[in-house]
């Protein structure tokens, strides 16, 4: 009976999603319906947002991501609180990605406000915080541990940064590099870039320019602008074993501009 109710609820939500956006027949699956609901809610369709919120509240991880993505795009305090609650509930329910996102949210609240970077692939957890309450450092550490235990790559990156930016004397560069390497291995584009920097400088890890180049290229493939910019510079200067090639540098610079334009949305 419970399963039947869930199915009915799912179908009803899909129907609402379809009605709010486009013909029903093109809704291929629940994830797509959620994406459409997110898009509709982003256009201030209250009914769509309410549906997405309900779906998220029922514990559906995909819906939670869609709803969190929606909230992260907003700058008002209520949305920020709601985002924290949604991610907190997710973390409590064992959602390691939500835990990681919440950690990032809380950590960045201690730095300041920033617009969302959107939810494009290759940008880590896809969430950047707005201003909020002072961070609970213990809570952040616990959330990141939860994320890292579940091998969320961004959690390893954020842990690496915590180690790197620890108070003088408490910093463990080798551990930071190890964590960053894990995050890069897991496909986290910012981590690929940062780990490439470490490999290039021999920071906490044996210097390895070819591997650094490969990681820059992998992060660039994921449309991560700083990595493309690193390649633009490397081509201009003939670094990392690349031939000095002003034309190729210019092309990479154009690519970087395009990636930045995409990331701004």
């Amino acid at each position: 009976m419970k399963r039947l109710l869930a199915a009915v609820a799912l179908l009803a939500t899909i129907a609402i999603a379809a009605a709010a956006t486009r013909p029903f027949w093109v809704a291929p699956d629940a994830a797509q319906a959620q994406a459409w609901l997110q898009a509709a809610a982003d256009r201030h369709d209250a009914r769509a947002e309410a549906s997405l919120a309900r779906w998220s509240d029922r514990g559906d991880a995909q819906a939670r991501q869609a709803y969190a993505g929606l909230l992260a795009h907003r700058s008002d305090a209520a949305s920020r609180r709601r985002l924290e609650k949604v991610l907190g509930d997710g973390a409590e329910a064992g959602d390691a990605l939500a835990a990681t996102q919440l950690a990032q949210l809380l950590a960045s609240a201690s730095v300041g406000a920033g617009p969302s970077t959107g939810t494009r692939a290759g940008t880590g957890t896809g969430l950047v915080a707005g201003a909020g309450a002072p961070a609970d450092d213990t809570r952040i550490a616990r959330l990141l541990a939860q994320g890292n235990a579940a091998h969320v790559p961004a959690a390893a990156r954020l842990l690496a940064l915590r180690v790197l930016n620890a108070k003088p004397g408490a910093s463990d560069i080798v551990r930071a590099a190890t964590l960053m390497g894990q995050a890069a291995e897991g496909g986290d584009a910012p981590a690929m870039f940062l780990y490439a920097n470490m490999l290039r400088a021999g920071q906490g890890v044996k210097q390895d320019e070819p591997q650094a180049l490969a990681l820059y290229q992998a992060a660039a493939d994921a449309d991560y602008a700083p990595a493309i910019q690193a390649l633009a510079i490397a081509y201009r200067q003939g670094e990392l074993g690349l031939p000095a090639d002003a034309s190729q540098s210019r092309l990479m610079d154009h690519e970087a501009a395009e990636a930045l334009a995409h990331a701004a949305h």
């Binding site: 486009r22 291929p28 994830a31 797509q32 617009p115 910012p190 940062l194 910019q229 154009h254 690519e255």
Partner: protein, 685 residues
């Protein structure tokens, strides 16, 4: 939709056109198999399809920022390749996969600066039409300038909410070839804003079963797609006016319809690439799933600015299950991607065989490849001389625009002596960045309103490429290309929140630019290390930030007397620093800069912010914009000379820029790069 008009014929092939006319008449009025007059079973056709993509208004091999030729790019050389292919093959068709109208200064010039009139064709379409295209699709960047402009330059009248009624819209000059796009739909009438597909009937040279050469009609269905993510990327232009549909659902809807209308083969032009992630109707690169829709014979890709096939490619999207980067297939469908800016031409050689069920593609005889405008010896193919005259007016207009004064400067702005403290080309960048961030903070980040906004910038051009590889903007009028000289890269502004301790660590890292100087040595010592100039961040900004670099000290201990407004900086004090996205994200490996300190990610490019600042200032004066020595070397008498390289015969410039004690000791430093050797007297700094 089903274009049964002579206008769909390739205009450049008069001989074929005559034959095709009859075939079109037959196709428009007749059935698919043309009854007893159709080809004999076993008749075969070799058909070569060509693709350009991501031309981005790159017509001539020219760099508008450098105001210099650049043969590595430009449609004028792609055209040469196209003509080579046509000369070598009896049956050819040419398609474009989108991102045509935007991407160079020429694109902006025609869209914004000196808008192309309704009665005139966009420059890139003049060039493309002169070569003759059969069809093309629309890329995501076509939407950058808004739907009104897109409608104008493509000769369309869109039935969308933010435009006047179709009947009230002028019908403007578009390209002569049909542009198809199936997955962008108007919210007004739920119809695609472009024709979703076209069916082109072409008369082709064929080989009959008896070996004789005959001519046969072949109907080529062409359908187009663009990344659904345009709804996010161009939200301001598109939201409420159009929606996008997924590639797979859209293809599944239209391809049976195209088949029913008689298409013998289906060419899908999709401005995107493959992606191994699970299918979504909003995914950016959905071609792996599009190719799985039954009926698609050829896939022409774009958007990723890559070459496909390419056996050596390390691009992740080409190394996933279902994509054969060597054979050039996606989900088994022959596919190409022709790089960008006209650097390559995609080529698909198809073998069609006429069967009892109509034309069929023999995939075992299909090959895909790309041709490069660059020869094996690194030279480039000759430009097609017929292209440049077509766009001469637009080209010269763009050059004039790039040279248009945006302000004036009463001093020469250079980086020849940036390594020894010359601020003439750096201070203005820091001023523009700091002012921009200050405005943002004041309006949007009240919690930081009372913090000082500093700024860093580096001499991007500092002699790596020799004596000409320096920023050098003459006194007098300043133009857009000068701004590109002052700010080389396409970075965007970011602001970070740091402490006084962070500032010192930042500057200590930048001071790696210098070798450690032993003042007791009587032999010459090189001042500048291998640490690159583009990482030599110079700090400036609001208030008076001052510091010394003591090059006699080891790394990490060189920054002395770091003060702000005359007071030593408290390590725990907070500052905002305006910089660029690369540095704020960790570029250069500066300590503590890893993305975690960013408080503002601006969408605006540093270079554009600089241009706006110069426009607002109108006149730059050395006293205001080019003389603030935020740093200098700590005074020290050295027993021997301390030397560095720069362009020759400029010691007087150093003096006039306020850098004392600089003399040229050799007009040639021996590097063979057009650099001279200078020395600096550190005791007078």
């Amino acid at each position: 939709m089903h274009l049964c008009t002579p206008a769909t014929l390739p205009r450049h092939r008069a001989l074929v056109a005559t034959l095709a006319a009859a075939a079109i008449l037959a196709a428009c009025g007749g059935s698919k198999d043309s009854g007893g007059n159709g080809p004999a079973v076993g008749t075969s056709v070799s058909l070569t399809l060509m693709e350009t993509t991501d031309l981005h208004q790159t017509i001539l091999g020219y760099d508008y920022y450098k105001l210099a030729a650049d043969p590595s790019v430009g449609f004028e050389r792609t055209s040469t390749l196209i003509k080579q292919v046509r000369a070598a093959n009896a049956n050819t068709m040419l398609f474009d996969a989108g991102d045509i109208i935007q991407g160079t200064v020429l694109g902006d010039y025609q869209a914004i600066v000196n808008k192309v009139p309704c009665t005139d064709k966009l420059a890139i379409f003049k060039a493309m039409d002169s070569v003759g295209y059969d069809a093309g699709t629309i890329g995501n960047h076509e939407f950058n300038y808004g739907l009104a402009y897109l409608g104008q330059v493509t000769g369309r009248q869109f039935n969308v909410k933010n435009l006047p009624a179709v009947s009230a819209q002028a019908k403007c000059q578009g390209p002569s070839y049909p542009q198809v796009l199936a997955n962008v739909v108007s919210t007004t009438d739920s119809q695609p804003i472009f024709d979703p597909y076209v069916i082109l009937t072409r008369t082709m040279s064929a080989t009959a079963p008896d070996g004789k050469t005959v001519t046969v009609p072949v109907k080529v269905g062409v359908i187009g797609f663009t990344p659904p993510l345009i709804m996010a990327w161009d939200k301001g232009n598109l939201d409420g006016n159009v929606t996008t549909n997924g590639l797979q659902e859209t293809a599944a809807k239209y391809i049976p319809e195209m088949k029913a209308k008689g298409a013998d083969i289906i060419v899908a032009i999709s401005h995107g690439g493959p992606d191994g992630a699970a299918y979504s109707a909003t995914m950016e690169n959905g071609n792996l799933y599009l190719a799985q829709v039954p009926g698609i014979d050829v896939l022409l890709m774009g958007h990723m600015h890559q070459v496909f096939p390419n056996a050596r490619s390390t691009v992740a999207a080409f190394n996933i299950a279902g994509v054969d980067k060597t054979a050039g297939t996606v989900a088994g469908v022959p596919a190409v991607m022709a790089n960008f800016w006209g650097k390559n031409l995609g080529v698909v050689n198809l073998k069609l065989a006429y069967t009892a069920n109509g034309w069929a593609v023999d995939r075992t005889a299909t090959t895909t490849s790309t041709m490069s405008t660059q020869n094996a010896d690194k030279t480039y193919v000759a430009a097609d001389a017929s292209i440049a005259p077509l766009v001469q007016t637009e080209h010269t207009g763009t050059i004039a625009y790039v040279k248009t004064p945006i302000g004036t400067t009463d001093y020469r702005m250079t980086t020849y002596f940036a390594d020894v403290g010359d601020p003439t080309a750096i201070q203005i960048v820091n001023q523009a960045q700091a002012a921009y961030v200050r405005n943002y903070v004041a309006a949007n980040l009240p919690q930081y309103r009372n913090l000082p906004v500093l700024s860093v910038s580096a001499p991007f051009k500092s002699g790596f490429g020799g004596g000409t590889d320096y920023t050098d903007v003459a006194g007098g009028p300043l133009a857009i290309n000068n701004a590109a000289d002052l700010y080389l890269y396409a970075n965007t502004i970011q602001a970070v929140l740091v402490t006084g301790a962070d500032l010192k660590a930042w500057l200590e890292f930048a001071a790696k630019r210098f070798n450690q100087i032993d003042p007791t040595l009587t032999t010459a010592q090189p001042l500048v290390s291998s640490f690159p100039g583009y990482n030599f961040d110079v700090m400036d900004g609001e208030g008076a930030i001052k510091y010394e670099i003591d090059v006699t000290q080891p790394l990490g201990s060189r920054i002395r007397n770091l003060t702000w407004n005359g007071t030593a900086i408290d390590p725990s004090a907070q500052f905002i620093v305006a910089t660029n996205n690369y540095r704020a994200s960790g570029g250069g490996g500066f300590p503590g800069l890893d993305g975690s300190k960013t408080i503002y990610q601006s969408p605006d490019a540093n270079r554009d912010v600089l241009i706006r600042y110069i426009k607002a200032a109108a006149t730059l004066a050395r006293t205001t914009n080019g003389s603030d020595r935020s740093w200098h070397f700590t005074r020290v008498a050295t027993a021997g000379p301390v030397q560095f390289s720069s362009a020759p015969n400029l010691a007087a410039l150093a003096a006039s820029d306020g850098i004392p004690g600089v003399t040229q000791v050799q007009a040639d430093d021996g590097s063979n790069l057009g650099l001279a050797r200078y020395q600096i007297d550190l005791s007078v700094q």
